[in-house]
């Protein structure tokens, strides 16, 4: 180790005294129960897989073959080439053991994440639904996803569907894609470790409704920096306990991967190291958090690209955040968060 590194390493010396408090939520019993459940699930999954395959072949294959060979029977509607970021393009209910907990709008893709129903465990498996606009599909290894690479699956509603050979929404996933409208695909993704993962992915897909188009509502507004546009809005869904933890994603069309985010979160435990907009804040190279913006909430803005966005821009963004109406009353929240 170089001498300058040795000196830097000394900076960590005070942390040698760090010790967790006596109060803990860790439970060995809970780990054993969860472990047993997972083991049972794996065993059951193995045994059920054969039965499911046989049942699928017997009950569904004729329908699949018919639907693939007879495009005239497919239900297709025209899909937009672009979504409105201030509206959810779809809704979904609890299905396959999962319940919606967050929704992300976007111009070309909208996404919902789901948690295991009835659990608040943050480590519980997450399922996901992603709906793409017409002509948009995810990248797989640098190439556009091709529906021809999947294997036929039971139709979702009346829409043709395929099981994916390789997942596109995450690793260790069982995924199903269906053509929700003409030339537009949606994906349902569940952890492969789940028993009957394929059936669950199908249940999740079946729960999607694209007829509704509800506006998003967030408990704050901001002033978007010049030349930046709103790329997406993240809002909590029914299974979330903190319904105020919404975030906005901003960026430019030229560099869509470089973004800034701003939103509300629970109070921060760390002490302030700066002042933003006359209020105590924590500021580092890529983020700025105002510790109290009212309603027992802190506000945080951050960027994933500090070369494009200087910290002063991040600070200005979080400083512009204002709560709308009552944080406890979603009827007073803004449908358009940009002032």
């Amino acid at each position: 180790m170089r001498s300058s590194e040795e000196e830097d390493a000394r900076l960590l010396t005070p942390l040698r005294e760090v010790a967790p408090g006596e109060d803990t939520t860790v439970s060995v019993e809970r780990a054993i129960t969860a472990g047993r459940r997972k083991q049972r699930g794996r065993r059951l999954g193995g045994a059920c897989a054969v039965a499911v395959v046989v049942a699928l072949v017997a009950a569904v294959l004729p329908g699949i073959v018919r639907s693939w060979n007879d495009p005239g029977e497919l239900t297709v509607t025209s899909a937009p080439a672009e979504f409105d970021v201030l509206h959810q393009r779809f809704t979904a209910g609890s299905a396959g053991g999962f319940a919606p907990y967050a929704y992300e709008t976007g111009r070309y893709r909208q996404r919902m994440d789901l948690k295991l129903a009835g659990t608040a465990d943050p480590s519980a498996p997450v399922a996901a639904i992603a709906l793409y606009a017409r002509g948009q599909v995810p990248d797989v290894g640098g190439r556009q996803w091709d529906p021809g690479t999947g294997t036929p699956a039971p139709a979702v509603g009346d829409h043709r569907a395929v099981y994916l050979g390789a997942p596109v929404l995450g690793a260790d996933r069982t995924e199903l894609a269906w053509e929700w409208a003409d030339g537009a695909w949606a994906f349902a993704s569940v952890p492969s470790a789940e028993p009957d993962a394929k059936a669950k992915a199908h249940h999740v897909a079946e729960s999607v409704a694209v007829d509704t188009n509800p506006p998003v509502r967030v408990p704050f507004t901001i002033i978007a920096p010049e030349n930046e546009r709103l790329l997406g809005v993240v809002t909590p869904a029914s299974a979330a306990t903190d319904q105020t933890a919404a975030r906005l994603v901003l960026g430019t069309a030229a560099e869509p991967r470089a973004t800034m985010e701003v939103g509300l979160s629970a109070p921060v435990a760390y002490p302030a190291n700066s002042v933003v907009d006359g209020r105590p804040a924590i500021v580092d190279g890529t983020s700025a958090t105002i510790l109290d913006v009212g309603g027992h909430r802190s506000a945080k803005a951050s960027t994933n690209d500090s070369r494009k966005y200087a910290v002063e821009q991040v600070k200005a963004l979080v400083a512009s955040l204002r709560l709308t109406g009552s944080i406890a009353d979603s009827r007073t929240w803004a449908e358009n968060p940009l002032r």
């Binding site: 000394r10 960590l12 967790p20 060995v28 480590s123 306990t241 975030r247 580092d284």
Partner: protein, 173 residues
């Protein structure tokens, strides 16, 4: 798992829990998230108990599970980390006891928490768990050279967080 093995698992985890919680706390900087990481890790340990029991160094094997549970949690996008469900963040943090040592720890820990996750893991394992570069590489599943690079960049990031003259600022000179 057989009853005898389950008993051995319970004894082992109960004994190692303080160490595992400390490691997780050093990695993530938040006691509630640390507990979540340890809970996920010991559940995973239950599933792989036979492999852990047969491991040459069981403590290292289990520490690797904790480190990877932390990195997995970080790898989930900010969208998934938003803590919308059952937020441990919503639980009030008890006030820290005052005193210069505690304040120093808080400042350094806050700075460390802002170092990128893999770099942070390298620093914690190397300088607070006193592992060799080769052992850290094994825990992180990367090469020795990669660990050296993570360490260098991590220390640089930490120094950046703590200001131009961190030793003076922290009263360590």
């Amino acid at each position: 798992m057989r009853a005898a093995e389950e008993r051995r698992y319970t004894e082992y985890v109960t004994e190692r829990l303080p160490v595992l919680r400390r490691t997780a706390l050093l990695l993530c900087g938040d006691p509630h998230r640390a507990d979540d990481i340890v809970q996920a890790a010991i559940t995973r340990l239950y599933l792989h108990w036979n492999r852990a029991s047969a491991a040459r160094n069981r403590d290292a094997y289990v520490r690797t599970i904790v480190v990877r549970a932390f990195l997995n949690e970080q790898r989930r996008g900010w969208f998934q980390r938003v803590s919308l469900v059952g937020g441990p963040d919503e639980t009030p943090v008890p006030p820290a006891p005052s005193g210069p040592d505690v304040e120093l720890r808080t400042v350094v820990h806050a700075a460390l928490a802002r170092v990128p996750a893999r770099q942070r893991a390298a620093l914690v394992l190397r300088f607070l768990c006193d592992l060799s570069v080769a052992e850290v590489a094994e825990h992180l599943g990367c090469s020795v050279g990669n660990v050296k690079s993570l360490t260098t960049h991590g220390l640089r990031a930490l120094r950046r967080q703590l200001g131009e003259h961190p030793m003076t600022t922290l009263g360590m000179e």
